[in-house]
């Protein structure tokens, strides 16, 4: 082999190696996408469970035990949204409601929708580990439910955000959290 032939062989190896690395990188990326989808599916079920739990609660602290609210001003003001009193505080784990079995404190301690404002829980998945769930409650306009209001209304918007390290990521490798929304509506059938 002369020098020219050796250089050609080396050049061919470089091209082949680059190609191989690219193919492998592409394969890994494809596998990763499949696994990220699994994490997103789990996040979806965890988020939906959270929404369902909140929607089973009373609309407002002021409408507990059959008490009726005739006007929006009868409801809890915006600045008082959140937990009402010491009995509704989450104990342990720095205020983060944590459970591997689904026995979250919120199920027993909270009695109305806005108790979940700024609530955080950690839900366990046996394959992927901990999922972090955060909740935000806002009053919204009854005609434009996308518009948050700073006054009371008969509509409360529940925003549930679920995040986990294995979920789908953006170009900067940051996890794209799953955001789910639903409305709790005070039904005035009286």
């Amino acid at each position: 082999m002369n020098t020219g032939q050796i250089l050609l062989v080396i050049g061919a190896f470089v091209v082949l190696s680059t190609l191989t690395l690219n193919v492998n990188a592409s394969l890994i990326k494809t596998s990763t996408t499949g696994l990220e989808m699994e994490a997103n599916l789990d996040a979806l079920s965890i988020g939906q469970t959270m929404l369902d739990e909140i929607l089973t609660k009373e609309f407002d602290e002021k409408t507990l035990n059959g008490v009726r609210a005739f006007l929006p001003s009868d409801l809890t003001p915006v600045y008082q949204l959140g937990r009402d009193g010491a009995g509704e505080q989450i104990t342990g784990n720095g205020g983060v409601d944590t459970s591997m079995t689904g026995d979250f404190q919120s199920k027993l301690k909270f009695d109305d929708v806005d108790d979940y404002d700024n609530y955080t829980r950690k839900a366990w998945n046996p394959r992927l580990g901990w999922f972090t769930v955060t909740v935000k409650i806002d009053y919204v306009d009854e005609d434009f439910p996308d518009m948050i209001t700073y006054w009371t209304s008969f509509y409360k918007r529940i925003t549930v955000t679920v995040a986990q390290a294995n979920m789908v990521k953006d170009f900067n490798d940051n996890v794209i959290p799953l955001v789910m929304r639903d409305l709790s509506v005070y039904r005035r059938y009286f």
């Binding site: 190896f13 191989t20 596998s31 699994e38 939906q48 369902d52 689904g102 027993l108 998945n125 046996p126």
Partner: protein, 197 residues
């Protein structure tokens, strides 16, 4: 002599190239299988979840008497007007055992049976784990099996957890790695006196 070394060298180079290409091809095949199994398990999980949500959330719809007739950790029987046409369906879910699934490599896979009226359908989703839990209005778990009517009436929320795995191993015939998806949701049927919902 020089051409002899050239032949040896070129043979080695060819060997390396052939091995590289073969390895890449193997990787492509493995990934293809893995992805295919992932897609199948994820699709099955979504479909089963949709079916369970569709059925369980309607428990008691248009039913005036007893709504849940039997409840266990791997099965449930209930009445519901599933199609909203005032016809009450008698629906039963129960898990089978591993011997009832034929022709799969996964030894843990068992079927799920869904009976509506007199028609029973065996569903082979790739289930390897199923757990149904029941809660009362204070979210206290009710121990299973629940057969006494007064206890059945306490049920207000149902938590369903399952795991679906691929029927074949992901990487090779002798491998024990399975593509898997877990799913869990607490369903609160509106017709079990959950009026706020």
């Amino acid at each position: 002599m020089s051409s002899f070394f050239d032949i040896i060298a070129s043979t080695i180079v060819f060997g390396v190239l052939a091995l590289t290409v073969a390895r890449v091809q193997t990787n492509i095949n493995s990934t293809m299988y893995e992805n295919q199994y992932n897609v199948v398990t994820q699709t099955n999980a979504v479909e089963l979840a949709r079916q369970i949500e569709w059925d369980f959330s309607k428990i008691g719809h248009h039913v005036t008497g007893q709504k849940i007739l039997w409840a266990d950790s791997a099965g449930i029987r209930f009445f519901a007007d599933l199609e909203n046409n005032s016809v009450i369906n008698d629906v039963t879910y129960f898990a089978g055992d591993t011997s009832q699934v034929q022709g799969v490599k996964n030894p843990d896979e068992f079927p799920l049976f869904r009976r509506s009226g007199v028609k029973t359908v065996q569903q082979n989703w790739g289930l390897t784990y199923l757990r149904i839990s029941y809660y009362d209005s204070l979210y206290q778990e009710i121990q299973t099996p629940i057969t006494v009517l007064s206890q059945l009436r306490r049920i207000k929320a149902i938590d369903v957890a399952f795991r679906i795995e691929s029927s074949e191993p992901v990487y090779s015939l002798y491998d024990t790695t399975w593509a898997a998806v877990t799913w869990e949701k607490t369903i609160v049927p509106r017709n079990l006196d959950n009026l706020n919902y």
